[in-house]
Structure formats: structure tokens, C-alpha cells
Symmetry: C2
Subunit: 427 residues, 2 copies
């Protein structure tokens, strides 16, 4: 995908605001340069991430639209959450994409529809739509939401006035009866996607999709495992971007690239080579997801002299830690297996959510983390409230802990830097 290509006609055809979008791309490009390209000792294979970042709003969109045009893809299906099974979209030759929600945009317009005190991620996706600056939102034929929190649940009512929308219901409780409900919900989604894409899901199609997505998750698991080494072979920033990319890039390409990164990182571990010196303070990040270009916290932690070695987050381990069982033969069996896999995601929507606490402590041990930085986006009731349980679990496990509440604005960067530096010094 050549950089010189002029994507403006494509963006215009999507109904986007060209001047504002150029401004956005300029700002994100600048941020990427400042945060990612200034890192020392990056694995060479992270050049893939630079490719993703460069093409994210341009080449990748063209590729998706071209595939639809050529009949190789049916529909583009957007979502905002790891609870929406991408296997089902792929089985219908659809293209699953994560939608823009990582930066403040058109806040004045957003606040005509949503309260000021709404979490930045939600305000962001509304703003990207109202400001017409997200080619993923604009090119999506269907947006699949999910009732994972009060804020999203109500914001989707507004978003449905803007886009063709379908909302999955997510249970509040993990038990046998809600698993039954959830399986039915996954099957309802499958019927909806089949209808939208004009494709009937066959066992072959679904098996292939499950295999492809499992492959992607296995590659991410393999890369994540290398980060247990000291020195860590790859930065938190680059690792975060691998999962962010997994929501946007082509599945086979991403899988190949991540496996290459994992292979290089395995060699680096073997050679004792790291992105930061041995003995650098190792941080496990826990909490709310970070959508592109929300790299703020990781940049702060790593510029302050720490290294993030794991993310217990939807843009982290919650995305890749579980695989779909591949033994199913019928569509029904495979959809059940998909539902079972997604049911294991320990989102804070669940009450109680003990398994999340166990996962966090286990991750901290496996990755030899020196401390936990737990983060909630402002006004995210669920993660903000659950942070008390995370703190208690960390305390009981003897792991130093700090909680941060933040948003997408830069105003608290100085204060956060001071707090993070102080935390790194004490651990």
C-alpha cells in the first residue's frame, strides 16, 4: 500500500469530514512518532506495527472496501467490545473491525446527546461519528453493540439513530442459567450476521473462522509469554499496539506478523536482549481498555523508566487468553463452543467477578511483575468500583499497587508522571 496514494476521494465517498480528518491524522501521526519511534531497542519485526499505524485510516480501509467491491468480502461489521464474536463475522465472509473510540473528538456535539460525565471511550465513539472522522464507523454496514455497562447500553440507543445497529445482551452473572441465555444470544447474533451478509454459516465456514481466530490468539499468547523474561524483549507500548491492531487488521496478515514478532522476541530472550535493561521495574497493567490512539499511560510508565510486561485488559490478555474449543463438528456445537469461550472473559460487568482477581494475581506472578498499575477511565463505574477488589487481591498477594483514574485529555499527564515515578521508586 503506497503512501503516495491519495485517499481523500475514498474518505469523501464515505461521507467523512476531510479537513477535520486530516487534522486528526496529523495529530495521531505526530503522537505515534513521539511515543513509538523514539523507543530504543525495539525488535525489528515491530516494523509491522509501523505499517499498521501508517495504513490504519487509509490503506487498510481501501483494502476492506476493495475486498467488498471484488466480492471477496460481504459486509464490514464494527464493534466496540471483545464480547462480540469475530468468528461469526468471518464465517460469513464479513470483516470484523473495532471502531474508533480512543480520542476526544467533537465533544461539543457529543454533549448535545450524552452527559458530560460520561466515560471518554463512549464520548469518543459518539464524537468520531458526529465529527465524521472514523473511516471504520463510516464503512461499517452494521455495528454490533453489547450491554456491558450502563453507559454503553444507553449510548447505543443514541448511536442506533446514527448507524445500522444490533445490540447483544450480556449477562450480569456467571452461572449455568446465564450460560444458556448467552448461548442463545450468540445464536441470535449468528442469525443476524447471516441475514446481514446474505450467507448461511456452514460447518466448514465456521470451523475455518474458529481456526483462523484461534491462530491469531495463539500468536498473541506466544508473544505475551516472551515478556516474562527479564529483560523484557518488547515494550508495553508495542505489545499494546499488537492487540489494538488485532481489532483492525486482516487476520492472517496479523497472525503472521505477530508470530514473527514472537519468534524474534524468543531469540532476544535467548540472547538476553531487551527493550529496557535487566532489572527495569516491571509493571502489570490492569483495567479499562485502551483504543487507538490512547497510548498515554503506557508512554508515561515507560518514559518514567518502567516497562509494562502485561495487560489484564480487553486490549490485552482478555482478548487472547482463551481459545475456542475446536472439537465441534456441527454449526450448533461450534456456536456453543464460541459462546463458552466468550463467557470466560472476566469483564467487570459480572458480579461477583472473583476469577478476574485470580487471573490478575496469576499474571503478576507469571510475568514477574514488580507492581500493578490499575487504571479506570473516568466515570467508568464498573472498573472504578472493582478497583477496590483488585487492590485487595494485590495486597493479599503482596504486590505493590497503584490506582489511576484518567481520561483522554493530556491535562493530568504531569501529575500522573509524578505519581508513576514515585510508585516506581517505592517498588
Amino acid at each position: 500500500m503506497a503512501e503516495e496514494f491519495d485517499f481523500h476521494p475514498m474518505w469523501e465517498s464515505l461521507g467523512m469530514n476531510l479537513a477535520d480528518h486530516d487534522m486528526l491524522l496529523g495529530a495521531v501521526g505526530q503522537m505515534y512518532g513521539d511515543m513509538f519511534l523514539t523507543q530504543n531497542n525495539r525488535p525489528k519485526s515491530t516494523s509491522y506495527l509501523d505499517f499498521v499505524a501508517t495504513n490504519i485510516h487509509s490503506g487498510r480501509i481501501k483494502e476492506m472496501l476493495d475486498k467488498k467491491e471484488a466480492g471477496e468480502a460481504t459486509k464490514i461489521v464494527g464493534s466496540f467490545c471483545v464480547y462480540v464474536p469475530e468468528e461469526i463475522v468471518l464465517a460469513c465472509d464479513g470483516i470484523p473491525v473495532g471502531l474508533c473510540s480512543g480520542a476526544d473528538w467533537a465533544t461539543d456535539k457529543v454533549e448535545e446527546h450524552l452527559p458530560r460525565n460520561t466515560c471518554p471511550l463512549i464520548k469518543s465513539f459518539a464524537g468520531f461519528k458526529l465529527g465524521e472522522v472514523c473511516p471504520y464507523i463510516e464503512s461499517s454496514d452494521l455495528v454490533v453493540g453489547e450491554n456491558t455497562c450502563d453507559g454503553k447500553k444507553k449510548a447505543y440507543e443514541f448511536f442506533a439513530t446514527q448507524k445500522n445497529m444490533y445490540v447483544m445482551d450480556i449477562p450480569n452473572v456467571h452461572d449455568e442459567s446465564t450460560l444458556v441465555t448467552w448461548k442463545a444470544e450468540v445464536k441470535k447474533l449468528a442469525a443476524k450476521i447471516e441475514e446481514e451478509c446474505g450467507v448461511t454459516i456452514t460447518p466448514e465456514r465456521l470451523k475455518a473462522a474458529i481456526h483462523a481466530v484461534n491462530g491469531k490468539r495463539r500468536a498473541l499468547q506466544r508473544l505475551a509469554a516472551t515478556r516474562a523474561a527479564d529483560p523484557a524483549p518488547i515494550s508495553g507500548l508495542d505489545s499494546l499496539l499488537t492487540v489494538q491492531a488485532a481489532f483492525m487488521d486482516d487476520t492472517p496478515r496479523l497472525t503472521g506478523a505477530i508470530n514473527e514478532m514472537a519468534a524474534e522476541c524468543e531469540q532476544r530472550v535467548e540472547a538476553g536482549e531487551g527493550v529496557a535493561p535487566k532489572g527495569t521495574k516491571r509493571i502489570l497493567y490492569t483495567g479499562t481498555p485502551m483504543a487507538v490512539p490512547n497510548w498515554k499511560l503506557f508512554n508515561l510508565i515507560e518514559k518514567a523508566g518502567g516497562v509494562v510486561v502485561g495487560e489484564e485488559s480487553c486490549t490485552g490478555s482478555r482478548y487472547y487468553k482463551d481459545l475456542v474449543d475446536e472439537s465441534g463438528e456441527t454449526v450448533d456445537e461450534m456456536l456453543d463452543a464460541i459462546a463458552e469461550r466468550y463467557f470466560k472473559i472476566n469483564c467487570a460487568v459480572f458480579t461477583p467477578n472473583h476469577q478476574r482477581m485470580k487471573d490478575i494475581v496469576q499474571m503478576a506472578k507469571d510475568l514477574h511483575a514488580d507492581g500493578i498499575v490499575d487504571v479506570a477511565l473516568q466515570f467508568c463505574t464498573l472498573y472504578e468500583m472493582e478497583s477496590f477488589a483488585v487492590e485487595k487481591a494485590a495486597e493479599e498477594a503482596g504486590i505493590p499497587f497503584m490506582h489511576i483514574t484518567t481520561d483522554y485529555a493530556g491535562e493530568d499527564a504531569g501529575q500522573l508522571q509524578t505519581r508513576i515515578e514515585a510508585f516506581l521508586e517505592t517498588i
Copy 2:
């Protein structure tokens, strides 16, 4: 119940903090005097409300404990929400009570367990427990929570460390399949209450309980209907207290008293007698519930020269507008009828929630409201977000609308008074 009786030994036996509780009662008593007893032209039968207010933490608690002692009642079952079916508790000779959640208390202790940015109602019930100043919480043998919002859902995880707790799951969506789920949830609660009270629910017991609670709701409907008249026969403040009392007082006594108030108000309407002059600006309140002693908004509206003629709220019409169908003969049929009745409550937990908008517009028309004051407690994501839909519905129906976000503190009273006065002038 004699005023001279010393209740301190009873409060002490409940493990309460006597000095703090005395302070609380003093403050609430003062507030009651300033807000309620200064009203002009109250119906004489509101003396019942003064009786309730006087006895709320004293005589009523003694009465409940005495009933248990005498074997006339089995258990005291507390709750925080109109979604917990009191018919089931009554059928087991239990005493259903609403728990304290209407004032800030022990905030410093609360914030060790819950985020500062939590809705005041949630912080309040945690504070009443941690500060040991709510005799309803302390005397409850079981507390039944419900997953109606992210904040309560997570706060109940903490509350369960303090009290014997059971949580009902509430759906996000109103449809045929969630009605099935909800019916199962109601039956699970019935089994839990039977077990807790050591009573088996028989058709006779349940029929009697349904009849009693329907009678209570009918009385409240009858009273509410008189408020359509101009002049309004009773204030919003007193009307609010009738529903607040319905969560705490003995069902037959309350039903009798409310019917007396309704009869007096019917006579006043006949005679053209009102609590405020004919032509007083008439306000429909919509939004979050107000637990005792949260009378702030109604006091402001009515002291500013308006009169509240209806409450679309859980401490209002949502409590009494629907009855349980009484045609069921078996326990199973009656539990289904109970589930169906509660399923109609248009809490903002539901998505979408169109019927609530229709109810609001209908209430405004039926009650000849001149304007809507829509209120959300601070950090109440659901009602805060749904206020945009309420505003749109009001606008489309041509009803003047104002939205207020507030908390339990008095700091914004001056500013709110100015805003409310300005609103009353424009309508």
C-alpha cells in the same frame, strides 16, 4: 406508640452507634419541621405522615421487633428497589422494609470501599451501615439487592461483606425471553425467602399478600388521581412521603391512612380547596428515587411557588401504577402474575425504554402539568443518560422541561432555587 418511651436500649441491642444516631435523628427532625410543618393548608389527614416521620426510627422498629418476638412475623427483609416483590416477603410472614439511603453519612469510611464518584444513594446505604445509624439495616435478617445499575451491582459485592445478602438479577431488555428469565428469578427469590423465613408459601398466603399490596397500591393510585385537580389538594412533599412511608410502614395501617387522605383530598377537590392557590405552576417530577430524608428538590420547588402534582419515579408512580393480576389460583400462577407486574416497571436499566417516555407524557397530560423537572442523582449514569430521551419526549409533546443533576448535600440549594424560580417564571 408513646413518644416518651426510651428507644436507646433497643438501638443499642441492634448494635447501633447511639450518639451518632441521636445526632442524625435531631437533624432529620429539624428538617422535617422546617420543610413539612411549615406548609400551609395541609389536609388534616396528613397527621398520619407526621406520625410516620416521628416513629420511623423508633416506634416502627419496636413494633417490627415485637412482632418477631411474639411470633407474628418471621423475618425482616430489607431492600433498596421497587423491583423486589414485597408480596413474596409478606406471604412468608416476613416484614418487607426499604433501607436507609437518603442522606450522606460516614462518607470518609464509605470512600475506603467505594469510589468518591459514586451516586449518593449508594454511598448513603454504605454509610448508614458503616456508621451504624440505620435501624432498618441493622434489624434486617436478609437484604435483597438487585442488579439495576452498575453502581448498585458492584456496591452489593461490598455490602454482602456486611450483611446477609441475596441479589436478584434484573434483565437489560424487555422481551419474551427476558420475561421467562425474570419469572425464574422471581421464583428463585420465593424459594430463598421461604427458606429464610422457614415458611412454605401456600396459595392462601400468597393470595392474601397480593391482595394486601394491591390494596396499598390502589390507595396510592386513588390519592394520586386527586392531584389532577387545580388547585391541587395536597403538596408534592406530602405525596412523596406517602410513597416513602409505603416502603417502611405496616401495610394495612398505611393502606387505611392513605385511603383517608384520598377521601379528604376528594372532598377538597369537590370544594375547590387546595394546598396552593388555583393557577399555581404545576410540576411533574421525573427521575431518580428520593429516599427519606431526601426531600430537598420538592421543598425547593414548592417553596419557590410551584406545586408538584406527580412523581414519575420509584418513590412515585412506578411504585403504585401497576397491580398484580389476582386471578391466579396456584402459587406458580400467582408468582408468574407477580413477575409480570414487576416486569412493567420502566426503570432506566432497560434498553430501549420507550414506554417510560410514553408514561411520562401521559402523566403530564393527565395531571395537567405545566412543566417537567427531570432529576438525576449525581453519577447515576442511567437516569443521567436517559434524561436526553425524556427531554426529547417532553419537547415533542410541547411540555416545558428542565433537567437537574444533584446530590444529597445542600451546597447547590441556592443555585437550584434560582434555576427553579427562573423555570417557573418561563412556564
